[in-house]
């Protein structure tokens, strides 16, 4: 019934499309270390010890309210009454990237969404962390064969913690957040 198209043509077109998207993003490299990205800079500026800086950084992380797709519903579950993330130092979800330092990429990232994600990441204050939440953000998930999806957010942003699951439960995100805290405090090496 269906007319067969040659497979090669499709593969070449797909490859070309991928190349074009990444070429267009090449010039917009993320520059680290704006002002107080280094712990020693901040401790010198404020006149406090490095341990103090580390402690305050670990215990007051502000995630950004950035839901893309299904996983965003479970992300809201993380902030809701049953999990109560505030007891571990995760305060309210912020609506603007300028007030937040953890970006939770929850959902599949389409090719038209990549520039927006990059722009949001650049607007966040240093130091900033990224959690890839769910299969889609980790590796493309069920859509890995789709023509409009990037296979994993780590192709665009540096990711600190990956969470597996489709979708992960809010408890899994809680564990990932604790992992991130351990990473910031230096208990876990990169």
């Amino acid at each position: 019934m269906a007319e067969e198209y040659p497979e090669e043509e499709f593969k070449i077109a797909k490859k070309e499309m991928d190349r074009l998207v990444y070429e267009s993003l090449k010039g917009r490299e993320v520059k680290p270390n704006v002002m107080f990205a280094k712990m020693s800079d901040l401790s010198r500026a404020l006149g406090i010890s490095k341990g103090m800086v580390k402690w305050s950084r670990v215990n007051s992380l502000w995630p950004m309210q950035f839901g893309l797709a299904c996983c965003a519903i479970e992300l809201m579950g993380f902030g809701s009454a049953r999990i109560d993330a505030e007891r571990k130092g995760y305060l309210l979800f912020r609506s603007t990237p300028r007030q937040s330092d953890v970006m939770l990429v929850a959902g599949w990232v389409t090719k038209s969404m990549v520039p927006e994600v990059k722009r949001l990441y650049e607007q966040m204050t240093e130091p900033r962390y990224v959690i890839a939440f769910g299969e889609c953000a980790t590796c493309g998930g069920p859509w890995f064969e789709s023509y409009n999806i990037i296979r994993g957010i780590d192709q665009v942003l540096p990711v600190d913690v990956y969470v597996a699951g489709c979708p992960p439960k809010p408890e899994n995100l809680f564990e990932a957040m604790i992992k991130l805290q351990e990473k910031i405090s230096g208990k876990i090496e990169d």
Binding site: Q65, C70, M76, A81, S146
Partner: protein, 364 residues
Amino acid sequence: MAITRINIGPVHPSTHGVLQLVVDLDGDTIERVDPHIGYLHRGVEKLTETRMYMQNPPYMEKLDYLAPMSYDEAYVSAVEKALGIEVKERAMYIRVILLELQRIASHLFFIGTIGNDLGQMFTLFMWAYMDRDKVLDLLQEATGSRMFYVNMRLGGMLSDLPPDFEERTLETLDYVEKRIKEYESFIEKNPVFHERMKNIGILPPEKALDLGVTGPVLRASGVQYDVRKNSPYYVYDKLHFEIKILTKGDNFARYKLRLLEMRESIRLIKEAFKRMPAGDALGQPVKLRSPPTKNKIVCVSREAPKGELMMYLVADDQKPYRLSIRSPNFINLMAITHMAKGLRTADLFATLGTLDLVMGCVDR
């Protein structure tokens, strides 16, 4: 006066996902709204053509992630219709019970987010999400998963309901019923809520029919249309329930209608448990190769929590040749271009919130 054009989104906390709105303003009054969609497009309909029939339900569930079971069920019944498979009677009752539980969960989420859209951050959301979790616990018990339950099989279910499920469901439903009363007193005794919701975003019935909106949005405009009554499927014609309608067609009516619908769903589930026959409810196990079908075109219509959902399936040998989905969210979204005219900017989000959109279903 000069027209200002502003851009809202695609990442904005009030647009319920990734929706871009280009708004023309005259002062603070909206002249024109232009929704730009497609930021979540991943080609579901095309992907289904590369999979066997029963490999597709997980893709269907990710369309509307607030009511995944309704979409799963609609797709599976389209396949059943194409292959000519009868559903067992007990399985029909189980499906009705689970679908209505899913409707309650979806509407509870709406009540949570409408508070956020009106600027009342998180109190209402915390309440509603807590109750939604209780309903999800029931679904998890019945299917094994919290959010995406691939539990429909051809001709029946993956598994029967667990023992004592009825008692626990009735207990939870009594709790939810009590909470609905609390929501009413909590929300409707607040004068700010009335100011923000009443006589705002009016959709007259003629216009609603012209635009093709369905579901609670249409019924709040005073049109009595519900697929469960108009062309009943499963056992909906044996159960007693009413289609609630409200005539005003404004934001308040759309909010109120969802509360009324939740009460009807509770009534439906209670009756379905009483009438449910004993027996076998298991469907066929998933085989890699389904029975072959040639050039059969079927269309099923279902009442999803957001509106009328249609699955148009052109069945080929082992895979769908074409699957077209009539998404209620996509069509309801287009009503915003009509409703937003003359509103204030802040009311745009309240109006958008009462449409209860899921962008994953709009973009597909």
